[in-house]
């Protein structure tokens, strides 16, 4: 019997996914573990692997269409098997929240984590060629039985990588900053000619690109959050002298233990987690008009990556020591930058810290990472004149800004949290109380 292909649920907040592309045509044989489609979730783009073997019988959605979680996007079964002609309804599906992890979800997560060349069907000759030419097998379309990659496929992929173009076209492209690989060639075997470059529409020449992928998600989420959530931002400055002293004393200890350097962000995560524990009002989230107070702190850390802003999550930070936080944060941030972070590590945060202190930013108003109640934006540290006991002194000051959702909390509890946070950093011994 034909088996459904579902839109996997890849994060706790995911309600729909956008089908970015199909890797298989209807009628194509499909093997377990083969990439079937690419899905854009609210966090990431991810390849979804088939968890059934057979023939892709039906595709109900076109590329760029949005599909509800657990919606049936297609069927895999035996050749000529009958499946519904029309897109099956999704209303009678189980409530997504109550569904256990689907195999697709697991498979998709594994794709990100473990897809290595070992999982690709390829002949030894193709593998050798791939090693020699540097063409990654996972990017090659196999022409053999069950998608097996042969030497000829690697050759073809290598040819494709090296775009064929005339010297004039290359010159033209260079002069106009045009990416040749994006230009459709009109010459023999798709060779890009000069005319192909000069005839490009102006906006393509400028290298404009559609709003899509992570960028699109960030755009939508930020617009939604800024539009829906009544943001109030509280600003303060924290004297960081004591905290930085503590950091310089802990640096060698932690470096010895983890091989990593303790950063200001991790110090802020540590202190922030403890401050949140004391302020359950701020440590809350809102969904469907219900406010949920969170117990464990799952700290989201905004990370700039080549693909756009990602917010990987470090879990249970209130129970973790600094060394543990350093090791885990460094590892997670690196995985986020490499694009190897599993989807589950990109969702489920309960509070977010966005640190722009490494730039020339004094302070900024962060936009809340929905559905959380608040977000802490961190600016740079600077020596500033401050008045202490009637005298002007120079102190290392850092501006922080707490944006909170005024639907969930009022100004006073948010201010109380920020005050506690500031005091803990200015008098770190409080952490031992």
């Amino acid at each position: 019997m034909a088996k459904e292909v579902f839109m996997p649920k890849l994060s706790s907040t995911m309600e729909t996914g956008t089908l970015l592309q199909w890797f298989k045509q209807e009628g194509d044989p499909v093997e377990v573990g083969e990439p079937l489609l690419e899905v854009m979730t609210d966090k990431i783009n991810i390849e979804v692997e088939a968890y059934e073997e057979g023939v892709l019988l039906k595709r109900y959605y076109d590329e760029d269409e949005e599909v509800p979680v657990n919606g049936i996007v297609g069927y895999i079964g035996e050749k000529d098997e009958q499946v519904p002609k029309e897109r099956p309804g999704t209303e009678d599906k189980l409530e997504p929240e109550s569904l256990p992890e689907t195999p697709a979800q697991t498979a998709a997560e594994q794709t990100v984590e473990t897809e290595k060349e070992g999982g690709v069907r390829a002949t030894p000759a193709a593998r050798k060629l791939s090693r020699d030419s540097g063409v990654e097998l996972s990017l090659v379309q196999g022409s053999g039985a069950k998608g097996r990659i042969h030497a000829a496929d690697v050759h073809a992929a290598a040819d494709k990588e090296n775009v064929r173009s005339t010297p004039l076209a290359e010159k033209e492209a260079q002069a106009n900053n045009v990416d040749l690989s994006a230009v459709k060639g009109s010459g023999s075997y798709g060779k890009v000619m000069r005319a192909d470059v000069t005839s490009l529409p102006a906006e393509e020449k400028l290298g404009s690109e559609p709003l899509q992928g992570v960028r699109k998600v960030v755009a939508e989420r930020m617009q939604q959050s800024a539009g829906e959530v009544p943001h109030v931002t509280l600003h303060t400055e924290i004297n960081m002298e004591a905290a930085m002293d503590l950091r310089s004393q802990l640096l060698p200890v932690i470096e010895k233990q983890t091989g990593q350097r303790l950063s200001v962000t991790e110090l802020l995560m540590f202190v922030g987690s403890r401050a949140l524990q004391k302020h359950p009002d701020v440590h809350a989230s809102i969904t469907d008009n219900r406010i949920t107070k969170q117990s464990s702190v799952h700290m989201g850390v905004a990370v700039a990556t080549e693909r756009g802003l990602l917010v990987p999550v470090i879990r249970d930070t209130e129970t973790k020591g600094l060394a543990e936080l350093v090791a885990e944060t460094k590892q997670t941030a690196a995985a986020a930058r490499n694009g190897t972070l599993p989807g589950r590590d990109l969702s489920g945060s309960t509070f977010t810290i966005s640190n722009l202190g490494m730039y020339a930013v004094d302070h900024f108003t962060p936009i809340i990472n929905q559905p959380e109640a608040a977000i802490l934006g961190v600016g740079r540290m600077q020596d500033k004149p401050v008045v202490i006991d009637g005298e002007i002194k120079v102190r290392l000051m850092m501006a922080v800004s707490l944006s909170f959702d005024h639907r969930i909390i009022d100004g006073a509890p948010a201010a109380a949290f920020l005050t506690d946070f500031k005091q803990m950093l200015e008098q770190p011994y409080q952490l031992f109380v």
Binding site: P124, A125, G144, A152
Partner: protein, 341 residues
């Protein structure tokens, strides 16, 4: 005909064409004229000339002392040959059908193969056991088998499987000269095949494969009668644009691994074809050897094996034919390899 000895004689002998059976007889006669220690023994090999007429006329030239008719006991014939070989003679046994090797198996596997080893090199068994193998003559289940993998498995036995008359002559002479026991398979369907065979003496070393046809797209390693089917398939495939290389190992033990490996490195695809039942057949040995060799990295398709179905050889000619790989099967396997199916 790649042997240098053959090539060098081409100027002198260009027209003479003889059958496989005649080539075997010529090799035997030349060896017996050369060396008084060489003699032949077997059932009905005297006046009758052997089951397939290979020894016809030899008793007239060499007499009953050197062309010995024996009682009907393959074990006794083989045992006698082993014994005489140990004394320094060079016996060449003829078994009427290779199926009967089973009766001589104790002599072959437990005596002939091991004696030199067990005597610490102080005794040799320079014997040859010639025997017709294979199906295609309607001789049914007990007279049509290809059991070469059984003997190839035994350390100490050499195994030869020629596919042409000229190879048969050169290889048989090399087998007789070899100080070890050699099992020499002669496919029944090949006996009447004819080709140019040099008249003078020449040998083809055991362990030297022959590239019967050069090609670039896919290698077919075939033995005995399958060499001819592979060559026919290759000609037809050439019309489809598939350029087949056909390799005849000629001897299974010792096996010329390098020639096969070099070819597979060139084509990236290989099909092993033999008439013996595929399961447990010698093709598995060749396939494994390739997979273990430096050719592995050059393989661009799964190694394919073609062999007979795992059933007794049927008497019915249509079924007998259906049991073993035919030209069409070989062509299809080659297409599948080349077209990545």
């Amino acid at each position: 005909m790649q042997s240098s000895a053959v090539n060098s004689s081409n100027n002198k002998e260009t027209t003479r064409s003889i059958t496989f059976a005649e080539a075997v007889r010529e090799a035997l006669s030349q060896e017996m004229r050369e060396d008084q220690d060489v003699f032949i023994l077997g059932e009905d090999i005297g006046v009758y000339g052997g089951a397939f007429g290979v020894t016809r006329g030899m008793i007239e030239e060499f007499g009953p002392e050197r062309v010995r008719n024996t009682p009907i006991s393959e074990a006794a014939i083989t045992g006698a040959a082993i014994g005489s070989a140990l004394t320094g003679m060079k016996p060449v046994v003829e078994l009427q059908f290779s199926d009967f090797i089973t009766i001589a198996m104790d002599q072959l596997a437990n005596q002939a193969a091991k004696l030199r080893y067990m005597y610490g090199g102080k005794g040799n068994v320079p014997m040859v056991l010639r025997t017709p193998s294979g199906s295609g003559t309607g001789a049914a289940a007990q007279h049509s088998q290809s059991l070469e993998a059984w003997v190839a498995h035994v350390p100490g036995l050499k195994v030869v499987q020629p596919s042409t008359a000229s190879d048969a002559k050169g290889l048989l002479k090399a087998a007789i000269a070899d100080p070890n026991p050699v099992i020499f398979y002669e496919h029944k369907l090949l006996y009447k095949t004819q080709e140019h065979v040099p008249e003078e003496a020449y040998t083809i070393p055991l362990g030297e494969a022959d590239v019967k046809r050069e090609g670039t797209d896919v290698t077919i390693v075939a033995t005995a009668v399958m060499v001819h089917k592979a060559l026919e398939a290759a000609e037809k495939l050439a019309e489809e644009g598939i350029d087949v290389e056909v390799i005849d190992p000629r001897t299974l033990v010792p096996l010329d691994e390098q020639t096969i490996v070099d070819s597979v490195k060139k084509t990236g695809k290989v099909i092993v074809v033999h008439e013996a039942v595929k399961r447990g057949g010698y093709g598995g040995e060749i396939a494994s050897m390739i997979a273990e060799s430096e050719a592995f990295d050059y393989l661009d398709a799964p190694i394919r094996r073609l062999g007979a179905l795992p059933i007794p050889v049927p008497y019915n000619p249509a079924l007998e034919k259906a049991m073993v790989p035919q030209v069409d099967d070989i062509m299809q396997a080659a297409r599948d390899s080349v077209h990545r199916r």
